[in-house]
Amino acid sequence: MQTVRPGRLRLLFALFAVASLVLAGRLAYWQTFGRAALLARATDQVRSDLVVAAQRGVIRDRNGAILATTVQLRSLYALPSRIPDKAVAAQELGVLLGRDPAPIRALLESGAEWLYVQRWLPEEAASAIAALNIPGLGFQTEPKRLYPNDAIGAAVLGFVNDDGQGVNGVEGYYDAMLRGTDGRLVVERDPANRDLAVGLREAVAPRDGADLTLTIDLVAQTAAERELAAAMKKEHATSGSILVVDPADGSIRALASAPTYDPSAVRLADPEALRDRAIAWPYEPGSTMKAVTIAAALNEHLVRPSDSYTDVGYTIVGGRRLNNALGKAYGPTTVSQILERSLNAGAAWVGTKVGAQRLGDYFHLFGFGRPTEVDLAGEVSGTVRPLAEWYPVDVGTASFGQGVSVTPLQLAMAYAAIANGGTLYRPYVVASRRDADGEHRTAPVAVSHAITPDTAATLRSMLLSTVDIGIAHNAAIAGFSVAGKTGTAQIAGPDGSYVDDLYVSSFAGFFPADDPKYVVLVVLDKPDSRLLGTVTATDAFKGVAQDILRYARIQPDRRP
């Protein structure tokens, strides 16, 4: 019988003892010094720290119609290695997505472990793909800003880029307010990635963005966009804008800009289309400015509507000859007829009576040369040069709207001041916002009192004559009194001199003339009809005005 030597037993015992000591020491280490690290690693495996995205606010028109909203849409992703037959899958996806299957197949065979096949799928397509039940394909919901009216109101609304940031228009101006504040959720999850009710849970609720209600009326907006598109098409104009303003408080009822874009598909848009012409297009207004010049003269009691001068077809100001359009002479002419016939020489005659200093002051009182501070992103100020930089002739040219630049919105607000009795309001598009604290309404802000109510009333009757018996008769609407003024302005080239045969045609008007409810401005850049571009502008004005009159159920104030 073989016996084990005691020495070997002792050695074995010693080995076990040492091993036990090492293990005990290691255990002690993990229980003391290494505990925190071990605990952190274990916690990391089950804990998820998520950002809970705040819902971007909804934008509605004044009647509650949705103009912009955020919806969670399904995006299709693929784990190509798990797709059994990529060719068949690509074929089926191509049919349902309305795409060529070849690029989809190339995508699936690209070797990527995970990829998006298509983001933000239409709901019908997503449901159809889900029904196919192809292994390796899955859906992930992602927020997408939708604009149910497509390109209607794009200039007012702006858009949201892929980073979720609002750009241009209301989306840009009110981005922080619309976006809200993201929340946070720290929670433990099981292996199936489900939240555990028992365990760590820290939650900071997201604060959703405010909902905005605009002053925009979708019906008026649609009419403005339709008429602008028709005018642009007819005249092959390079750009244009139509504005509808409520003169009583400065709220904007419609704002159209062309060229335009679909805010849901900004990537396809021409970059030039992203510029809102109504607020970011300074142009020389031409004859529409004559109303402002005459307003200044009437307000300073320098002229009366019946005052007359002899029109010889031109006038000399600062040693320069300023001609009427086509150089036509009219003989004895009243101040009212200056507007009715749109006489440059007459406007310059009135302008020289007012003087450069006062004319500049009135330009500022009517809001020219500075931003209107409308609540839209991207506004420019236009240019009224400082008086020290005016040449003697400038008082004459500025009187009929050359040598100064304005934005369509500035001009519309100036006409709104004439329409409402002389008060220049700050224009605005957001009527109210609703957030967690309740509803906040926007109060109209009077910027200045440019002219007295009497002056405004006198000017309104002069502008009414301009439509009834004057140059703007094409803007007349049967059954309603319409006041307004056409404008045909030359365009300055890069060298500062005016370009031959290129004009900006416009019409600014309001209705009903005695108690104006709406101001409408139409501006077209470089119309094909050149000097007759104002006819198209007045046609567009009428189209918008007739829709609004019917829609707003405004009673006729004249016999048709």
Partner: protein, 144 residues
């Protein structure tokens, strides 16, 4: 002869107890006399046994209570977990319904869009009315 050694008194088994009893001058022989005077050994034995039973019962009860407590805790935790999963499922359903509502809102807004209605009307052969005759309210009122 009944001796005290036959009765397993609680304190009788320890060495310290024996020493205490030796120091008091008594012997194990004297104890039957005292027991005989106060209470019989049988009664003492029964009482001691009863005491032990009580302790045993108490221990069993404590164990049973702890077990029941543990079972309740585990069942509550399990129920909470199940409820948590149920809540999560319902929250997912709620989110999906909200998503569907917002999609329907968008669809409704699309259908209500004046531009879409105008386009559909145009497809049906209708044209935009340029002039709509309106009768002022004033003369009608005067005729009444």
């Amino acid at each position: 002869m009944i001796t005290a050694q036959a009765v397993p008194l609680k304190w009788g088994t320890s060495a310290a107890g024996k020493a205490r009893r030796s120091r008091r001058g008594g012997s194990t022989v004297a104890r039957p006399h005292r027991l005989a005077i106060g209470r019989t050994p049988a009664v003492a034995a029964v009482r001691a046994a009863s005491w032990d039973l009580r302790i045993f019962g108490l221990a069993i009860a404590a164990i049973a209570f702890s077990f029941a407590l543990a079972v309740v805790y585990v069942s509550q935790t399990t129920a909470l977990s199940v409820a948590g999963y149920e809540v999560q499922k319902l929250a997912a359903q709620r989110d999906e319904l909200r998503r569907q509502i917002s999609l329907l809102d968008v669809q409704s807004a699309r259908l209500d869009s004046p531009a879409r209605i105008a386009a559909d009307a145009q497809r049906l052969g209708m044209v935009h009315a340029r002039y709509v005759p309106l009768i002022p309210a004033q003369p009608l009122i005067a005729k009444r």
